[in-house]
């Protein structure tokens, strides 16, 4: 792949350098984004460079009924490392997990950011929204999560739901859903300007890719569950390294026996890969593995209501 940097585009190169990006970093980022967006051939290094040289878009990251696994997932981004993303790609103006200040001071930051950047900031939502009994099961700064999301969402330019909890309600929505948890789109009653990056957790590459796409080309094409087709266009099964065994009828019978040791297909042990739209098998997690590679069946974590619809996890669908 030819990269813009060093090919006569001196301004771009200089700006990137000023932002602390070396040529090597840049090449890595290009490779990462293009790999994740294999389906979009028009996505060039020039577009990535444009994203990096723009003024960093303000990002407000709100956490609701969640486990912080999605934040953690983003912090594990291998290429580009998270330090570069935080300092050079976006301006993370509100995020409780990593900001220095707390309490009133942090609330002030939130109010100021959504005011100063009204209509311009990207809202990232992590977690489902408890709605039963007026939403008392989840509060931040004395306000219910339900009222917070309703207040902030209309002021954002776009909203990215990160993780299955905000996209589809998540684990707290599983039956009998004791807190009346809903997805962010459900709680808001709208899907307008919302992108779902599903997964429990999602692959950070899909999030970074969506952000870069949004900065440079706007909202990517979405499927009926609001997931970008670039990342969620194929099933885990479609690119699974065990597919050859599936096709040859070679199925692992038990986790402890020779069929498992040989790496046979995990379908009969409960694998939900054929029903799960996500790019785990090609993008990999932590750029090294994914559950099926580690010998465990897919549990379908990027699908709506998978906690109920895909379980029991060790039985075939």
């Amino acid at each position: 792949m030819r990269c813009l940097i060093g090919s006569g585009q001196n301004d771009v190169e200089k700006t990137l350098k000023d932002k602390g990006f070396t040529r090597r970093d840049f090449m890595k980022l290009c490779a990462t984004v293009s790999a994740a967006m294999a389906a979009d051939a028009s996505f060039t290094p020039a577009a990535v460079a444009a994203a990096l040289t723009a003024k960093r878009p303000p990002v407000v990251w709100l956490q609701f009924a969640e486990c912080t696994g999605c934040t953690e997932s983003i912090l594990r981004t291998v290429d580009p490392p998270i330090a570069d993303v935080l300092f050079d790609v976006i301006s993370l103006d509100y995020h409780e997990t990593i900001m220095q200040c707390a309490g009133e001071a942090i609330e002030e930051v939130l109010e100021k950011t959504i005011h100063d950047y009204a209509g311009k900031f990207v809202l990232v939502c992590e977690g489902g929204i408890p709605t039963k009994d007026g939403g008392i099961y989840g509060k931040v700064g004395g306000k219910t999560m339900l009222s917070i999301v309703k207040d902030v969402y209309p002021k954002a330019a776009a909203t990215i739901c990160i993780g299955t909890c905000s996209c589809f309600g998540g684990v707290q929505k599983a039956k009998p859903n004791p807190t009346g948890a809903k997805s962010v789109p459900e709680a808001l009653g709208t899907t307008k300007n919302i992108i779902n990056i599903a997964g429990c957790p999602p692959n950070p590459i899909n999030f970074i890719g969506a952000v870069v796409h949004y900065i440079t080309k706007g909202v990517p094409e979405l499927d009926s569950n609001l997931r970008p087709k670039l990342f969620f266009g194929e099933t885990v099964h479609d690119k699974c390294p065990r597919l050859k065994h599936f096709e040859a009828g070679e199925f692992a019978k038990s986790f402890d026996d020779v069929t498992a040791k040989k790496g046979y297909c995990l379908y009969e042990l409960g694998c939900k890969g054929p029903d799960t739209y996500n790019n785990c098998s090609s993008a990999l997690f932590n750029q090294v593995s994914f559950p099926i590679q580690a010998g465990h069946p897919c549990i379908g974590c990027s699908e709506p209501d998978f906690w109920d619809k895909m379980s029991p996890f060790y039985e075939t669908a």
């Binding site: 594990r76 989840g138 707290q172 986790f255 010998g295």
Partner: protein, 572 residues
């Protein structure tokens, strides 16, 4: 070591404020926590820790396949990911009786996976969740990069070699960031205007800030170690009752990659994390007398035999009233949960196998005035009726008291460096130092597990799992001493399904509310006496709260209202 210690004993300033301070939300933690303190003449006089989220995971699990529990419970927390999956797996293994049959290779790989989690979690906690309570990033801008490099190179604390150029580059990058006006994560930071509670010289601030950034990249390595064995991080997906499924991780190339990442991570631990703790601590030595509690508990960790809690590399035990000469044996039947101050219907304190309650939310305005109201979604777990701290400090104290060789060596080294006695361990500083000590102890022992795996693989052993069958009914419990402390999952199985399940998690031990007798929870106790210089920027309160590495989403649960039977259960 000249030049890296203050000349006089540091004193954190005490303000003259009297009144209430509410911090909601508490930042740099997992989950939603509200801390309220009453300050009198600049010192905390009373404290309330309140969890602000209820999810009902235990209710959701009723009637499901016991093997599915690990996937649900792991979603209790994505920061201390994996440990809930392990506790649930051990819980079912204990119930079905396969815990004694797990192949040695399976146990070793599970220990390496959990060990990697400790390396990851403690590094991230120190640098990204805790350091900004002690390190003034803005002040780092006025440092002399050459002096900062000299300080690292000449302090004799074991820092890797630093150059003026690398520290200048960090400073320049930071300058651009601040001057660019988009402050991002440092917006409204307590140190944007000088704060008298921050004590480090500018050069040390610069060094620590450089390591904050370095650690952001470094932490990716142990997360990849976890992904090699566990399939991904966060939320590993390779445990299965009887062992672990990751045959991929024991292939030659993958295990080599694991070892390479391990080596790089341990290099950072020994040449950056440990020296940083030793360099920073002398400037905050008075915190060796602030933030302590009284009772401590650990279930031990890293078994050689999953069916025997006494086979754990780090020992189990309890310490009452700071009496380290007299460590008590760990007895799970002494665990009970209280609800008088929690948002549940009142009832007697109960062992987790019997417990129940219905949610009952009230407003919390009257908290400070009457001291009678309910104020948290967490229950108050008690051990032998005592408020008990769990976590790295508890584990380190028990190991130290029991003469665990590696722990004793490191604790002694740290105490000597600081010129303080063992009593200083009972503090916020002690908690933060213990986390670092624990990282080294576990990290070093991982080399032995790696060597064992290599030996087994060389012999052609590839057995990671044992066979078992689900009985119609059974009870079991799984204990994990997680990075945040003792975690236990308790199950009753009936008709091959989950009849009742309960999680008693580290953060309810540490951050739970008052108990039925009105005795404060550990973090509440620890906060009493804390100085508060500026009530608008209460960084001192954050120091002690963060020293527990709070993790709140997992601390909230509901117990099945229908089971009131007393069950007998086997303790592994």
């Amino acid at each position: 070591m000249a030049g890296c210690k203050p000349k006089t004993m540091p004193v954190t300033p005490v303000g003259n404020y009297s009144g209430k301070v509410v911090i909601d939300p508490i930042n740099r933690i997992e989950g939603h926590l509200r801390i309220e303190v009453e300050v009198e003449n600049g010192r905390v006089k009373n404290a309330w820790s309140s969890s602000q989220l209820f999810r009902g995971l235990e209710l959701i699990l009723k009637g499901r396949d016991p093997r599915d529990a690990k996937h649900f419970t792991q979603r209790a927390c994505g920061v201390c990911t994996h440990v809930h999956a392990l506790a649930s797996t051990r819980m079912v293994e204990n119930a079905v009786g396969v815990d004694k049959k797990i192949p040695p290779l399976g146990t070793a790989m599970r220990n390496l996976l959990l060990g990697s989690q400790f390396l990851h979690d403690h590094i991230v906690h120190f640098y990204h969740l805790h350091a900004l309570d002690w390190v003034d990033v803005v002040n780092a801008l006025s440092a002399n990069p050459k002096k900062a490099a000299d300080l690292a190179n000449g302090a004799g604390l074991g820092h890797r070699k630093h150059t003026e150029a690398e520290l200048k580059a960090v400073q320049d990058r930071l300058k651009k960031f601040v001057e660019g006006g988009q402050l991002g994560i440092f917006a409204n930071a307590y140190f944007l205007k000088p704060h008298a509670a921050y004590k480090l010289p500018a050069e040390l601030n610069l060094l620590a800030t450089a390591h904050y950034l370095e650690a952001l990249k470094l932490q990716i390595l142990p997360s990849r170690m976890m992904a090699i064995i566990g399939g991904k991080n966060p939320h590993t997906q390779a445990l299965y009752e009887g062992g672990i499924t990751s045959y991929d991780a024991i292939t030659k190339d993958k295990f080599k990659l694991f070892k390479d990442l391990y080596k790089q991570t341990m290099d950072f631990v020994t040449n950056t994390y440990v020296p940083d703790v030793l360099a920073v601590a002398p400037y905050y030595l008075d915190w060796g007398g602030i933030g302590g509690t009284t009772n401590f508990l650990t279930c031990g960790e890293f078994p050689s035999d999953e069916g025997d809690i006494n086979s754990r590399y780090l020992p189990a035990g309890a310490i009452y009233k700071r009496d380290i000469a007299n460590v008590k044996a760990f007895d799970p039947m002494k665990v009970a949960e209280h609800v008088k101050y929690s948002w549940y219907e009142n009832g007697p304190s109960l062992n987790p196998f019997k417990g129940e309650t219905k949610p009952k939310y009230t407003d919390m305005d009257h908290m400070t005035t009457a001291n009678t109201g309910k104020y948290s979604w967490m229950k108050a777990p008690r051990y032998d009726n005592l408020a008990t701290e769990v976590g790295p400090l508890a584990q380190t104290l028990v190991a130290f008291a029991k003469g665990h060789k590696e722990t004793v060596g490191l604790v002694s080294l740290v105490l000597k460096h600081l010129g303080v006695g063992a009593e200083a361990l009972f503090s916020t500083l002690g908690r933060t130092a213990a986390r670092c000590i624990q990282t080294v102890v576990i990290g070093k022992e991982m080399q032995n597990w790696i060597d064992n795996v290599d030996k087994m693989l060389a012999k052609g052993d590839t057995n990671l799992l044992a066979k078992w069958e689900m009985p119609d009914s059974a009870q079991g419990v799984g204990f994990v001493d997680a990075p945040r402390g003792m975690l236990s999952h308790w199950i009753n199985i009936k008709g091959k399904k989950i009849e009742n399940i309960q999680l008693v998690v580290p953060s309810t031990w540490n951050l739970g509310p008052r108990d039925d007798k009105g005795v404060l929870g550990p973090v509440e106790e620890a906060l009493i006496g804390t100085p508060v210089f500026d009530p608008k920027r209460p960084v001192e309160v954050l120091r002690t709260v963060h020293s527990y590495d709070p993790c709140i989403a997992c601390g909230v649960h509901i117990i099945d209202p229908k089971t009131n039977e007393v069950y007998k259960f086997k303790v592994c």
